[in-house]
Each structure stands twice: as C-alpha cells, then as structure tokens.
Symmetry: C2
Subunit: 320 residues, 2 copies
C-alpha cells in the first residue's frame, strides 16, 4: 500500500500549446481502482514511472487550443492526469456534447468509460443479463457497482448488492433500488447469500475478488448457465504478485457455468447502444450516481487510498 | 490418497433377476478421475458409502434378462460398479449397437460419455474450437486429453499437448498427432508454452488444474476471445477442500477471455452430432485410443490410483 509520503506536488509552467494540442482545465477526475495497478512495476495497465504524473480519466474545459477540433469552452473527456491543467494531444480527447438532461459530469459517472460503460458492457454484452435473473453485485456501493445495480434493475433482474456496513447497504437498497443487500462485515457472505437466493444466482458481477468470489461461486444456480463476470478484484490489487485465486473455480465445471473477463474498450462497438440506454435512464430519473468529491488536487493520493479503505459510496472523484 | 488396504473384495450370489432388471457380465470398466471424488464425504458427484461398491462407467454383455428391452448377448453401457457381474435396472442401461467399424469397446473410449463425448463437448460445444486455433491440452496422454488432441487436429487446429515424461510426449506427438508436446516434468510449462505459442493460445482444455492452469492463463492470446475450458483438475482431487485456485484468473479480465465449465450430460442434445463425427474418425482411421488394461477386478483399486500417479497413456480400463 502506498503512503502519502510517496507522493508529491510539482509546479510547472505551460509556456505554449503546440499544434495539435489543447490545454484543458481539469474539472473532475474519476478515481478508479485500475489506477492503483499503474503504481506497480508490472500491473494490468501500463505502469507510471517514478516522478511522472498519475493518470486518471476525467473531464475538463478547453482554455487554449491549437487544434481545429476544439474551441475554448468545449468540454473534453479523456485519460488526463492528477493535474490542475493538462496539455493534451487533441486526438487523445473526446469532445463531450451534453444532450438534454445529461450533464458533463455524467461523462465520468453514469456514462464514463471506467464507470457506467464498464458496468453496462460487463452486465449486458459480457454477462448477457436477462429479465428475471438473480444478479449479485460486489462492491455494490462503488461507482461501477452502483451503475450495475441500477442497470440490472432497469432490465428486470432481481438484484442483490454486497457492500460493507449498514450505511452503504442502505445506499444500495435505498437510492440504488437493489432488492437486497449483504453486509460483508456482518457475517459470512455465503450464508447470507444462500438465504437470499436459495435457488442460486444467475449472474455475479465481481469488483472485489477474494473470499467474496468464492462465496458467489458456491451459490451459482446449479441448473447451469450461470455467469461470473470478472470486472475487477479490488481486494487483491495490493499484491498482484500473489493473488488469491478462486478456490471454488471447479464449481464452474460442476454447474455448467462460466467466468468471463472483459476489456471495456474491446466492446466499443456497443458503446452507442449503451449510451442511448443509460442516457434514457438519466433523463427519466431512473439512474443516479452521487459523487463523493475530494478536493483540491493535493488530496488526490488520499482519494486513491480511499478506494481501498472503502470510505465512500458512489463515484469517488477529485476536483482540482 | 486412499491406500490399497482401504479396499476389499466381497463375494455375493445373485439368486434371481427381478422384473425390469438384467444381469450384465462386466466386460470393461472405464477408470475416470471423477471416481476419486466419489470417495470423499462430499465431492463433485454423489459419494459412495463405506462398504458399497465403487461406481464406474463400463460395458458388458447381458447374460440374463427380465426386461423386454434386452436379450441375452446384447451389449449394454452404463454406470456399472467394480464387479464381475452387475444386476442392473434395465432403464439405467443403454443398449450398444456397434455400427460398421465401431466396436463395443469404443463406447467406453472414443465414444464414451466420460472420455470421447466429454472431449467433444468441451472442445466443440463449450470451447467453440475454430480452424486455425492454437489449442493447448493438459493431461494430453490421458483418455480425455487423447481424444481432445485428435478431435482438435481433425477440426483444423494447431495442437500442443502437455504430458509428463518423454514417453508420453512421444505418444502425444506420435500416435495422437499433436503439433508439439510440453513435458511438464522437464521445465517450466509457461516458458515452454511461450516459446511454442509466442502469440498466445486461443483455447485451453484443462484436465489438470494447479500451476499448469496458471501457466495457460498467462499465455492466453492477448487480443481477446480466448477460452479456457475446465474439464477437470486431477492435480487437485486429493484435497477438494483446499483447491489451489488459479492465481492468474484476472488474466481473463485483462485479455477479454473466458473460463467455461461444463457438465457433459447438460449437452446431451449434441451427442448425436458428436457420435456421428467421432464414428467417422474411427472408420477412417483418424482417431485412436489405446487401452491400458489392468486385470482382473482385484486390481481395480490399483488402477484407480494409477490415474493419479500418471503411469499410463491412453484409456485406463479394468477388465474383470
């Protein structure tokens, strides 16, 4: 686990904006678990080098442009960094054009590639959720989990969320509308799950890994066809060199089930469909993703660690 | 691990054959890894009780019948036991009618439900093998693995088999026709695999589990769509209460891949297609499954343990 003393703030002056680049005033950065893996020498994603900035998806407004595709005042989305101002290749940014009822901040929340689109792709494209499915979601009070709970409900599933503590469980069954919540701090998850879904679960959307994954595997619907979608494993990111593999993976064979991983960008062909569906949920008030805001930029390292200590509900963001 | 002293032979007299039953002279019993799991108090399959016979799939000839569906001399296939003569419900048996070029023993080999049909279902129905795929098979010299190697070659895949020792590897690349073999006793499997399949594997058919599963996960084709088919985990059957889960299961997420388990009987709708394809391979001399015969029935326990010590190639059977 990194400590706060591992991070530092550096002031730099941006003298000019070269051709093809734009200067973005960072508005909001999305704090996602994958960021932690870039701090290892060898993680899932390209690692950052010592002394460089830490990457994070975010949105901002263009304050200077040397590219014809962006004008001052445009909103832009992309892989920014822990910065107040970001000098970016225009090609690495997507112009965000808010539609009726959809705000710029939705593009790092319910419509964000690491949040809402990840949730939709995992649930729909990979997990093939069906109406009437019993869907289990770990990390249900987190950003991705919050989206999964709501999207699954909107598609007619029965949804059980796993979260830590009564406040988060209340958030999951309250604002998010899950049918039930399991407090993993209040007793054995498998026992609670077996009581809530005695015939087993059809779909498990996993953000956590570890023992919770085994509890879910042990409660897959026996008749076959259950799906485990591996989105992440936040319980294991502190030590990717010695991950606790699912001891009960043979349940997949015993129960004719599957475990499916995904890279969200490999499913870009379906983003249009996802954005249409999610935008409609936003407009009709059927999806919400409260922001847990940490500010200013100096507290970026603290926010990163909050992801792992589980102090927040909803979408953890940093505003510089 | 059971020891030979855990087993005993009991003589019983069969006085009569009740209505609806038949008496079968057991010809050949198929020694399959799942049998080991029935010796645990709680395994994959229904456990046997102390003092009862141990179940095994097999074929035999009817010597007395009190059921109109079977005549003396008919060949029958079913879940028999470690017996010389089996008194069976007729409804629990399938009459085996050998076609041209297909012998009764093929029904516990290339066409057996626990051998050839398991291989076909895992490879085709679950693994969705495609021509040109790089297919990796663990336990490639075993009964299921031998079938997988040959069926995958017949469907146009490039096949790499994993086996223990030069003799078995020679069997895999020789009689079975694999493109390459990896001797897991001769060095790190992952290193050998990376050399043989530098662009990664498309399909891994796993009979073994443990470290070999991790080596395969680490070498899945990065572009996405690779499949891991979990057929068994013979390396783990001695202690199902503390299975070594795949530490690298997150490769599924990183590489947009899936891990799929199956219960062969859930795919019974495709057995007809499988039997047609495999029978054609048998008739045209494109599939072989040598029997490693242990006899007589007294050596059944010894044969069961051979499955785990890896002393055989091909289809391990007991002839009473």
């Amino acid at each position: 686990m990194p400590s706060l003393s591992d991070f530092g703030i550096v002031d730099e002056t941006i003298e000019q904006v070269p051709a093809g680049q734009v200067l973005v005033k960072v508005d909001t950065l999305s704090m996602d678990a994958w960021i932690r893996t870039t701090l290892d020498a060898e993680g899932f994603h390209e690692s950052v080098t010592l002394g460089s900035t830490i990457r994070a998806f975010g949105i901002g407004q263009v304050v200077a442009s040397s590219d014809p595709g962006f004008a001052v005042g445009d909103w832009a989305y992309g892989l920014l960094s822990a910065q107040t101002m970001a000098l970016m290749d225009a090609a690495a940014l997507t112009k965000v054009v808010p539609e009726q009822g959809v705000s710029p901040s939705d593009f790092i929340g319910l419509l964000g590639i690491t949040t809402g689109l990840t949730a939709w792709v995992g649930l729909v494209a990979v997990g093939e959720v069906q109406p009437g499915d019993v869907v289990l979601v770990s990390g249900a009070a987190g950003a991705v989990g919050s989206c999964v709970v709501q999207f699954a409900k909107a598609r007619g599933a029965r949804v059980i969320g796993i979260a830590g503590g009564p406040a988060k469980c209340g958030f999951v069954t309250g604002l998010l509308g899950a049918d039930a919540a399991i407090d993993y701090k209040a007793g054995d998850v498998g026992t609670q799950l077996a009581r809530l879904a005695p015939e087993g679960i059809d779909l498990f959307f996993d953000n956590v890994g570890g023992e919770i994954l085994d509890a879910a595997l042990d409660n897959l619907r026996p008749r076959g066809g259950a799906r485990v979608v591996i989105c992440g494993a936040i319980s294991q990111y502190q030590n990717l060199n010695d991950v606790r593999g699912p001891k009960l993976y043979l349940r997949l064979a015993e129960r004719n089930a599957s475990m499916r991983g995904f890279v969200v960008s490999h499913h870009a062909a379906r983003f249009g469909e996802a954005i249409k569906e999610i935008s409609q949920l936003i407009r009709t008030g059927k999806a919400h993703l409260p922001e847990h805001v940490v500010e200013p930029i100096d507290r970026f390292p603290e926010a990163l660690m909050m992801l792992f200590t589980g102090q927040h509900s909803g979408n953890l963001v940093v505003k510089p």
